[in-house]
């Protein structure tokens, strides 16, 4: 389980981030110029915490994320690559998406193709 108290989300305008023992929930939109500098670093910290805590699965709920730019999609691609490293501890990355949101419906299957054995896409209500 993650320890939410040790994973303070960055303060990024337009996106709300909450951390639970199971993972991260995002809502709002991400259209900043360089989201890797704030959100990307935070995702990396969560990833490292998941490895350290030997999680079997980490849940990233993006259902409330109504719009993102391509730099933000890149962050999810990076995360899929982190969990597909051939050696060392790993966990399953579960993205919970809303298939009625175009960017989520179209982009997550392509992300899953990058790391099919380690990424699961779940359709949420």
């Amino acid at each position: 389980m993650l320890n939410p108290a040790s994973l303070a989300p960055p303060d990024v305008t337009s996106v709300n981030i909450s951390v639970s023992a199971e993972g991260v929930t995002l809502s709002g939109s991400i259209t900043t110029k360089e989201p890797d500098r704030s959100l990307g670093r935070f995702f990396r910290t969560v990833h490292e915490a998941a490895l350290q805590n030997r999680l079997d699965e980490l849940r990233v709920d993006v259902r409330g994320l109504s719009f993102v730019n391509s730099s933000a999609i890149r962050l999810f691609i990076d995360w899929a690559i982190w969990v597909s490293q051939p050696t060392g501890p790993r966990y399953r990355l579960r993205f919970v998406r809303n298939p009625n949101v175009t960017w989520q419906r179209v982009s997550f299957p392509a992300i899953a193709q990058l790391a099919a054995a380690h990424v699961v896409i779940e359709d949420g209500a």
Partner: protein
Amino acid sequence: MTERSDPAPVARPLILMRFRPVWTYIDGVREFCRFFCDTTFKTTDLAERASVVIQETLENAVKYSTGGDEAELELRIQSQGETIEFSVSSLPDPLHLPTLRAELSSIASQTPEEAYVAAFLRAASEPGEASRLGLARIRHEGRAELSLQEEPGGRIRITATGTVC
């Protein structure tokens, strides 16, 4: 002797905006255009596709614009029948043009879905680099075909053409 026929009707722009290439304007312009498409065409699907097209075309235009008074961006949306066109005119750094031409040509040589998956694979293999997903997103998520026009004075116009429904 041939009779002169009337010229084909030319679509009038539904939206014509000019503004300086500043990142912070993109959100506001995109949301206005989303609202406009939703309200005018009564289709949420088009509004969502328009959001992707406008976000990615404007981001590219802002990223690669030269500075100065001539660098103003122009966004035009026009429709005729079932066809809708989004175009952005900008004054890019000339060094960026060959890359843009190559990118468009590569994307056009594949189906929208193939180009999209290829862009994701490339991004995955180039950690730390720019995403370069934008044009592929416009074609696949935005369901719009892209074209590039080079205009006098070094300006370029990227046009994304799709259908209303």
